[in-house]
């Protein structure tokens, strides 16, 4: 039995399965899609993939500093707790749709919750 979270979740193939479900949810939510209004959707999707890799406990090198820098312009545009909660909600729904066991999903959500202050630049 794999002992780390990333392997328990299914590694790279699990990320591939999750990224489109997650990114489509985010883009479809009018309350937050404005923050994702990039013309370069491929780059944007690659970033979502990095984020999922991180919260799945995978080999991501995103630091808190990167997270702050990436979101600083969005915070200036009004990114706040309600938007963070909406994205977190879509992450939870994604995990549910993929049938991720509750104990593993809770670990993922805990990692995601830990990024709140960096994302909101507090």
């Amino acid at each position: 039995m794999a002992d780390n979270l990333y392997e328990q979740l299914g590694g790279g193939p699990a990320i591939d399965a999750a990224v489109d479900i997650f990114y489509r949810k985010v883009l479809s939510n009018d309350a937050i899609s404005g923050f994702f209004d990039s013309t370069d959707m491929e780059e944007q999707r690659a970033k979502q993939k990095s984020f999922l890799t991180m919260v799945f406990g995978g080999p991501s090198q995103y630091s808190g500093k990167d997270m702050r820098a990436a979101h600083a312009p969005l915070v200036e545009k009004g990114l706040n707790d309600s938007h963070f909660d909406a994205v977190a909600g879509h992450l939870q729904e994604t995990l549910d749709e993929l049938g991720v066991p509750a104990d593993l999903a809770a670990k993922v959500m805990a990692i995601a919750a830990g990024t709140r202050d960096d994302v909101l630049n507090r």
Binding site: D20, R24, L27, T39, R45, A46, S50, T53, Q61
Partner: protein, 328 residues
């Protein structure tokens, strides 16, 4: 192993990635995640094979051109690599013919001095002898057409397009850079349905892609939606109706967003009509060319309609400024 990059020979020790070797040699390269995820560091292998792991996540069309991620590339042999933008050599050509397709679109046919290897749907940078340069999509197909064909839209105040319309005649020499661009047909999944949406001269690359697919025995359905505000802008109507009689799996849908549609035309913007006809695009391959706001909006709608990102090939036509990097 040796890497050839920007004219320099760079050693790549066993176990070192291409990116680390370039950084070690003080080459200026862009990178971010160093994990094969962000694709910031993408380079092109012009010679030598790169391992499959270094192309994971890269679009099929770019893979075919040798694009790879140096941060996860442990080379198995020597490589000659370049920054994609730098691969821009000028070729020489002569104008063969010019004809009017509509009040604002001319068909320009040129013959390169030496045969050009390209894929239908790519673009060239055409250069006048004083250096004026503009990008135009190829409308021809290498294995079907003897020359290179472009559809040139005359833009108000457009220096190059006005010159081509008013002053260019057969025999006129031109230089060109390219081919560039990753919006082209690959025969890998001949059963896949193709959705081609273009407005204005966005039709040029799409007709090339459609003919390439149909003549390559593509047996999935090929839908081409061509949009314009006015009937005159649907400038290849007869040709496309004829193509439809030759290939039963080819479906041509002209769309008018301004004029009232005559018999055989649909009312509305091309992307809206197409998405209305096919709300579920799971497993479809999609090509979007033309006016950037249409292309960008359609890309998003097609993705939300279930198409995989790697299956959506978008070619927004940016006007006036010469693109500094290949469009994809």
């Amino acid at each position: 192993m040796t890497l050839r990059f920007n004219g320099a020979e760079i050693p790549c020790p066993q176990g070192s990635t291409v990116l680390d070797a370039l950084i070690e040699a003080d080459q200026s390269v862009e990178y971010s995640c160093k994990n094969g995820i962000c694709q910031t560091c993408v380079l092109r292998a012009d010679r030598g094979a790169v391992p499959a792991e270094s192309q994971v996540g890269i679009k099929d069309t770019l893979k075919a051109l040798g694009y790879f991620l140096p941060c996860v590339c442990l080379p198995e042999g020597s490589l000659e690599i370049s920054v994609p933008e730098d691969a821009d050599l000028l070729g020489r050509a002569r104008v063969v013919s010019k004809e009017t397709l509509s009040p604002s679109v001319s068909r320009l046919v040129i013959e390169p001095a030496t045969p050009l290897y390209y894929r239908a749907g790519q673009f060239l940078n055409l250069r006048r002898d004083d250096g004026l340069t503009r990008s135009y999509s190829l409308a021809s197909v290498p294995h079907l057409d003897p020359h290179l064909e472009f559809h040139i839209k005359t833009l108000p105040g457009g220096e190059m397009s006005t010159w081509i319309r008013d002053d260019v005649s057969p025999g006129q020499p031109l230089e060109f850079g390219g081919p560039n661009g990753a919006c082209f047909y690959l025969p890998e999944h001949p059963e896949q349905n193709l959705l081609l949406i273009g407005n204005g001269t966005g039709l040029a690359p799409l007709i090339g892609i459609a003919r390439d697919a149909l003549h390559s025995s593509h047996h999935g359905d090929v839908y081409l939606y061509h949009g314009s505000r006015h009937v005159a802008g649907i400038y290849l109507h007869e040709d496309l109706l004829e193509l439809q009689t030759l290939f039963p799996n080819f479906h041509y849908v002209p769309c008018l967003s301004g004029d009232a549609p005559p018999q055989g035309y649909r009312a509305g913007r091309a992307e809206a009509v197409a998405l209305g006809d096919f709300p579920d695009l799971t497993n479809w391959r999609i090509y979007l060319c033309g006016y950037p706001p249409m292309v960008n909006a359609a890309q998003r709608k097609c993705y939300l309609a279930g198409a995989r990102m790697d299956d959506i090939h978008a070619d927004p036509f940016e006007l006036k400024e010469l693109r500094s990097s290949p469009r994809d």
